[in-house]
Each structure stands twice: as structure tokens, then as C-alpha cells.
């Protein structure tokens, strides 16, 4: 072949090699960055850039608003309430009027002093139906707020509520400046420990320490809130030292960070719960004996082990109030197969019962929980048929429609969760539970100003729920979070909402 002769001809062929070498060398220069006095936190940009700095917005920029704004009151680690922007408060005897005294000398980031009118404005902003704020339902008990003088606010309630401060510790209830509704979503002008330097929810949002903060200046000068939507990318960013904190990793990912001197892992107990709920208005679950039997068959510690892994959660006894809540009622519950069988026979199901459980992969946990329940219930003759429906449309077409479905709730204070999910007629009453006794004792608990009596009343509501309700709540979830070892003073394991101003870096 003629072309073969060509091959022997010399070609300057070391040149490209040299070029390649040069490029390779150039590319392999390590990137060096210094970051003293800087905290880099990842978040998932869940609203895809529509994140608003208005703490009451349905698409609030969660991470950032927590450090930009303060609440009237704040929760301490014992579940109690500490003063925040309010230094003290009083309640009227009928528990329908609350008066809060504000902290003098507090200034917004813009320099404007905090006055009672700002609090009034914030509350009315939250209650404004046009805003569609998710806290509106929490605060619905408030009729109106009123400024008595510059530093005194009075709340008038629609009905008695002896625990208003418990509602106001909701991390979304930040205080914004009067008449700032139009600009707040961009300025983030609050009284909080950090000030906004640059708002860039899809990139890097910059926060800088507020030196005049009323609880003392934060220990870290700058915070970068970094958008990383992809879970795996978050893990890799953490492993390669690009960020300092991951809010939540699963049990399996623990292996990546445990026993690694570069990281510190914390396991936090929370009141988040997944569950399976029965519609109490539809057969066979309209029979309280069936509901009871359905709950008696569960081996809760074993379910945690199989569905979550060891340490993935804490056993629950079908109460939505979690052990960290001051109103938690510890009722104790045990698996009792013979009792479950007896109840079923009593209800007329002598050969066991067939039930259809509708679930979906909206939450990874739902499926594994359903499968564990299926095998545990089988021992009592309950034949669970699992129907896995598509994730999209689950919350519309299946949840609150079918008679037995998977569900999930985030941690809420006792009063809030009992009212939102179990009071007759509540819009998210997924068990269609309607029990006058229960509603009545909830009302009474709200009215009761004596804390000891109030506690016993909340315990009573939970007992009614436990005896007759339709919710299977087998456990509360634990959350694992990771910090880079650069962080020298870690938040307490009791803090679900981290106070970043106390955190320091090396």
C-alpha cells in the first residue's frame, strides 16, 4: 500500500506531547482557599430560586430567615420558653388577652428601632389570607394585635389559649419592620444575628455578622448559604471540604463520616413522624376494635430496626406529641397478638381480616414501613395488601381518600399537631376522626391557665386518641447531621434549630 511509505516520514510528534504535558501541569495546580471566620452551609434550593426572605412566605428561604430574624420568644433546650424580642408577658384570667413587653434598644439591620407597631404589623402580615402563609393556621387563634405604647403589644384572641408563647416560638414567626411587606422578600431586614450581604438563593447567599446584636455579636464573621440541590453532590461537597455542615443524612451515609477525624456527627431526636392512618368513618376501620387490633400487632422496636436501622428512631405509642414536648404523655404500649386476635373475633372477623394499605415512594420510608407492618400484622391474621401508587398525585388522589394510607408529619408543638390533624373538621384531619370528648378536652386544655392541670388535660386528649383514634404512629424519627471538624463549638444535640451565632470555627 502506498500510504505505508508515508509512515516512516518524520513528524514533529513530541510537540503535541509537550503541549499536553504543559496543559496537564497547568490544570493540576491545586486550588487553595482560606476560610477562617467563615461558615459554609449547604441547602437544597427546594424552591428553585423562588426563595423569599419574607419569613411568612410559603416559599421562605428557610435557612437564611432563621438567622436574619428574631421571634418574640424562643425555645430553650428543656422545651421551655425563653424571652426573645419580648422580655416578659402576661395573660388575662380568661386567657383571651396577652400582653408582651418588648426589649428596648433593639434595632433592625436598616437601623430602624424595634417598636410595638412592628410586631403588630408582623402578626397581621402573617394572618393576611392573601399571603397564604403556612403559619396563618398556627396563629389563627389570634384575632388582632394592638400597640399599647412603643414597647407594649397586646394580642386579642378569638378563643382562650393559655399557651400562646408556644405558638409564637414557631421558627417562622420572625418580626419584620412595619410596612416592609413590599420589600422584605429581597431585603430580609430583621433584627437577627446576621445581616444580608447578598441574596442569591440559587448560588451563594452571603450573610455577615450583626455587631450590634442584642444577645452579643456572633462568633463567626460570615456565613455562606450554598445551593446544592443534589443529595449526592452535597455529600461529595462535604467530603471534599467545600462545606461545613449537612443538616440531614441517612443512616447509611453515617458510615462516610463516622470514625473520620475531619467530621463530627450528631444524632438529634425529633418529633417528625411517619405513620399509617385509617379512616375512622369507613369500614372496617369505623369499628374501634379493628383499629385497636391494627395497632396492637406492631412490634415497634423491631419495626425501627428493619425500616430505619438501629438508632434511626424512637418508639412511639400512636401519639403525635413527641417526648421532647412538655405535654407528651407516656402511655406505654406493647405488642399483644392474642389480644389483637380476640378483638378481631369480637368484631366478627373470625378468620382474620383483609385490609388494603395504599402507599407510595413519595417518601422512601413508606414502602419499607408498609412491608414490615405487613409481615408483623400477618401473625394476628391481618392480611395487609399493599398497593403502591405513583408518587405524583399521592397526596391528592390517595391520601385522605383511601381508607388506609401512609402519611408523614414534621415536629409540631402538642397543641398545634392535635388541632391540625385530629380535631373534628380540621382540613388535614386524615383519620376523619370526630370525637366530642377529644375536641372538648382540647378546648379545655387551651383555656386552662394552670400549667399542671393543662398538662394533665393534654395527656387526657392523647389517651383518648390512643384508645380510639385511627392513627398508627410507630416511631419518631432521629436526624443525623454532620459538621466539619473546623467547627469548634458545636450546638447542643437538643437544638433542632441551630443557633448559628454561638457556633465558632477554628
Amino acid at each position: 500500500m502506498p500510504s505505508r511509505s508515508v509512515k516512516t516520514a518524520g513528524l514533529p510528534y513530541f510537540r503535541p506531547i509537550r503541549l499536553i504535558l504543559a496543559i496537564t501541569l497547568l490544570l493540576s495546580l491545586p486550588v487553595s482557599v482560606t476560610h477562617a471566620g467563615l461558615l459554609r452551609l449547604a441547602y437544597d434550593a427546594g424552591f428553585g430560586g423562588a426563595e423569599s426572605l419574607d419569613p411568612y412566605s410559603p416559599t421562605r428561604f428557610y435557612f437564611t430567615t432563621l438567622t436574619l430574624f428574631d421571634r418574640l420568644v424562643q425555645q430553650n433546650h428543656e422545651g421551655g420558653i425563653d424571652p426573645g424580642l419580648a422580655t416578659s408577658w402576661e395573660v388575662s384570667d380568661d386567657a383571651r388577652t396577652w400582653t408582651f413587653n418588648l426589649r428596648p434598644g433593639v434595632r433592625f439591620h436598616s437601623g430602624k428601632p424595634l417598636v410595638a407597631a412592628d410586631v403588630v404589623y408582623s402578626i397581621h402580615h402573617a394572618l393576611d389570607p392573601e399571603r397564604g402563609s403556612p403559619v396563618a393556621s398556627t396563629l389563627a387563634v389570634i384575632d388582632r394585635a394592638e400597640a399599647l405604647d412603643d414597647l407594649t403589644v397586646r394580642f386579642h384572641l378569638k378563643s382562650a389559649h393559655a399557651d400562646l408563647p408556644l405558638l409564637l416560638i414557631d421558627p417562622r414567626c420572625g418580626i419584620i419592620a412595619e410596612n416592609s411587606a413590599a420589600t422584605i422578600e429581597r431585603t430580609g431586614d430583621g433584627t437577627g444575628p446576621y445581616k444580608l450581604l447578598r441574596n442569591d438563593p440559587e448560588g451563594i447567599t452571603l450573610l455577615i455578622a450583626n455587631p450590634e446584636y442584642w444577645q452579643g455579636p456572633p462568633r463567626v464573621e460570615r456565613i455562606e448559604v450554598v445551593a446544592i440541590p443534589d443529595q449526592v453532590a452535597q455529600i461529595q461537597a462535604m467530603l471534599s471540604g467545600q462545606i461545613d455542615y449537612l443538616p440531614s443524612i441517612n443512616r447509611r451515609q453515617l458510615k462516610l463520616f463516622e470514625n473520620n477525624p475531619d467530621f463530627i456527627v450528631q444524632t438529634i431526636r425529633t418529633g417528625h413522624w411517619p405513620g399509617m392512618v385509617m379512616r375512622t368513618d369507613q369500614p372496617p376501620f369505623d369499628d374501634v376494635r379493628v383499629r385497636k387490633a391494627m395497632r396492637l400487632v406492631i412490634d415497634r422496636p423491631n419495626m425501627i430496626r428493619l425500616a430505619l436501622g438501629d438508632g434511626g428512631g424512637e418508639p412511639a405509642c400512636d401519639t403525635p406529641v413527641w417526648p421532647g414536648d412538655p405535654y407528651y404523655a407516656d402511655m406505654g404500649c406493647h405488642r399483644d397478638i392474642p389480644a389483637a386476635r380476640a378483638l378481631l373475633e369480637e368484631a366478627g372477623y373470625n378468620d382474620g381480616i383483609d385490609v388494603d394499605l395504599y402507599t407510595s415512594s413519595v417518601e422512601k420510608l413508606f414502602i419499607s414501613m408498609a412491608e414490615v407492618y405487613q409481615s408483623q400484622a400477618a401473625e394476628a391474621g391481618i392480611r395487609v395488601h399493599i398497593h403502591q401508587v405513583p408518587a405524583d398525585g399521592y397526596w391528592t388522589d390517595t391520601w385522605m381518600q383511601e381508607s388506609f394510607v401512609s402519611t408523614r408529619w414534621n415536629q409540631r408543638p402538642a397543641d398545634q399537631i392535635l388541632n391540625e390533624a385530629f380535631r373534628s373538621g380540621a382540613s388535614w384531619n386524615e383519620t376523619y376522626w370526630s370525637n366530642p370528648d377529644f375536641d372538648h378536652s382540647l378546648d379545655m386544655a387551651r383555656k386552662e391557665t394552670d400549667p399542671v392541670k393543662r398538662r394533665s388535660m393534654y395527656a387526657k386528649t392523647q389517651q383518648i386518641l390512643f384508645d380510639e383514634g385511627g392513627a398508627i404512629i410507630p416511631f419518631y424519627l432521629n436526624i443525623n447531621r454532620v459538621f466539619s471538624a473546623r467547627i469548634s463549638s458545636l450546638p447542643s444535640e437538643k437544638e433542632l434549630f441551630i443557633e448559628w451565632r454561638r457556633v465558632a470555627t477554628q
Binding site: V232, K255, P390
Partner: protein, 298 residues
């Protein structure tokens, strides 16, 4: 030496079988072809036989054996849910092989037939259809795959028509080019002179010759689709858990690379060797049939 392609081309009956044997020998005689053929056959056999070899249920989770290193019990270790990586890896090609093989056959057939017809018809129709083909090529096919998978809810098998359609578009060009090349050959002219219609010409005379080109094209399309399918699975739009699938397994194990590389490395090796195998095989097939595969051309 008689070129293998000519042997197969003019053979009928027994001699066509002989032609196949010659092509086979030609492929195997090249080291590249032998390796390629071996890899393809190995993976196909494995996909068929996997369920007889798997020591564990591919979906069986075991909370006590999460991310364990390879051992006698689990020769490739376990993944983040405690499933046996060996069982999952050898089964992991099934779905993708079935879907891509079927799609590649359909694509080569419909694209080839359309292309050949256009090449024969020629004129205005051909010209306009080719413009349409060019326009179709500008459509980002991957995006349509994503759209169809996520919005129709038809699951992974909804990919077959879409994959076949978009790949077939690219085959049209090749089929047409080949038909134009062959159309001027003497035996076609002879058939025309004999008074046969164009449909007869296509099926009786040209298809056997074009089948070489389409065969090579099919092999190239197959390898491309394997890549595309694994990308889809990786992005979460292909196979659905707990189905074992290489792309999905790689995606799932990515975060655990630092502590359990085996969970991702094995599927990656299997996936890559299959695609390399198909490519080498297609190369050797092209050489044996004296067809120049249009590598890298959409």
C-alpha cells in the same frame, strides 16, 4: 481472498450459511473482533443465565450487612441496603440489554427502510423528507426521553418507541446514502431493464446488500443506546428501584465511593465492558462486511 462481504452477498441457502461462517471467521481473526465478540456473547449469556447463578435475591435487603467488603459469602461485597452486589451486577444488564436491543432493531429497520425508499424515490419528496430529517436531528433527543418517561408514566418500556424513533431518524441518512450508492450499480439497472417495479427491486435485490450496512448500523446504534439508557438510569429516569440496573447501581453507590467502592466499581466495569464489546464487535463487523461504520455520527 474472497471478501467475506461478497460471499455473504451473493450466497443463497447453504452458501449463505457459508458466508456467515466466513464473516464470523473474519471477525474472530482480528484480535479486536475476537475480544468484542467475546464480550458481547459473554454479556448476553450472562443476562440470560443470571437468574440461575445469582446466590441471593437481587432485592433482598439485609440491615446487618450494609456496605460490607467482598467476602466468600458476597464475592463483590454488599451495597448500602445490604444487597448482594454480585447478584445485582450479573442481573443488572438485563433490562438495559432487552430495551436497547429491541429499540436498535426497530430503529435500524424503520430507519433503513425509510432511507432506502427515499433514496430510490428521489426527487422532491426525498429532498423535503431529508430536510425534515435534518430538522429532527436538531431536537435534543435525550430531553424527549426524559419528558416521556417522567410525564407519561409508561415506565421504562415507554423508552422503546422513543429510542427507536429518534435513532431511526439518524439511520435514514445512512440507508438513503447506501441506496443511492447501490442504485447506480449494474444489477439494479438490469432489474429495471427487466421491467421489475421499484418495490421488487428494493426487496429482492437491494435489501440483501443493504443488510450489511444496516447490520453495522444496528450494532453502532445498540452501543449508543446502551450509553443513553445508562445515562437515563443514572439520572433517575430509567430503570426503577429495586430493579437491578447498572446505571442505577452506579448512581446509588456514588456517595459511598469512599467507604465501599465495590458497590459501584463492579457495575461500572460490567457496563463499560459491554459497551466496549459492542463497539469492537461493530468495528470488526464493519471491516468484515467492508462497511464503514459512521462512528460518532448522529
Amino acid at each position: 481472498m474472497i471478501p467475506a462481504a461478497d460471499a455473504i452477498r451473493f450466497g443463497t441457502g447453504r452458501s449463505r450459511l457459508a458466508g456467515t461462517v466466513i464473516v464470523f471467521r473474519d471477525i474472530v481473526s482480528r484480535p479486536v473482533g475476537a475480544i468484542g465478540l467475546f464480550l458481547v456473547v459473554f454479556h448476553l449469556l450472562l443476562a440470560v443465565a443470571a437468574s440461575f447463578i445469582t446466590p441471593y435475591d437481587v432485592a433482598l435487603q439485609n440491615a446487618d450487612r450494609i456496605l460490607q467488603a467482598p467476602s466468600w459469602a458476597h464475592p463483590m461485597g454488599t451495597d448500602s441496603l445490604g444487597r448482594d452486589v454480585f447478584s445485582r451486577t450479573i442481573t443488572g444488564g438485563r433490562i438495559s440489554i432487552v430495551i436497547t436491543l429491541v429499540s436498535a432493531v426497530i430503529a435500524a429497520l424503520w430507519g433503513g427502510l425509510t432511507g432506502v425508499s427515499l433514496g430510490l424515490v428521489g426527487g422532491r419528496i426525498d429532498e423535503w423528507c431529508m430536510r425534515l430529517v435534518d430538522a429532527f436531528l436538531a431536537i435534543p433527543g435525550l430531553l424527549f426521553l426524559l419528558l416521556i418517561v417522567s410525564f407519561t408514566g409508561g415506565g421504562v418500556y415507554a423508552l422503546i418507541p422513543t429510542l427507536a424513533f429518534f435513532n431511526g431518524i439518524s439511520v435514514i441518512r445512512i440507508g438513503r446514502g447506501a441506496a443511492q450508492g447501490v442504485a447506480v450499480k449494474d444489477y439494479i439497472t438490469a432489474a429495471r431493464v427487466r421491467g421489475h417495479g421499484s418495490r421488487f427491486i428494493v426487496f429482492q435485490e437491494m435489501m440483501p446488500n443493504l443488510q450489511d450496512i444496516l447490520l453495522v448500523e444496528w450494532a453502532m446504534r445498540w452501543s449508543w443506546m446502551m450509553l443513553a439508557f445508562s445515562s437515563l438510569s443514572f439520572l433517575g429516569f430509567g430503570a426503577t428501584p429495586p430493579t437491578p440496573d447498572w446505571g442505577l447501581m452506579i448512581s446509588d453507590s456514588r456517595e459511598f465511593l469512599t467507604v465501599a467502592p465495590w458497590a459501584g466499581v463492579w457495575p461500572a466495569i460490567f457496563l463499560s465492558t459491554l459497551i466496549i464489546g459492542i463497539n469492537l464487535f461493530a468495528d470488526a463487523l464493519g471491516k468484515a462486511l467492508r462497511v464503514n461504520p459512521q462512528q460518532g455520527v448522529i
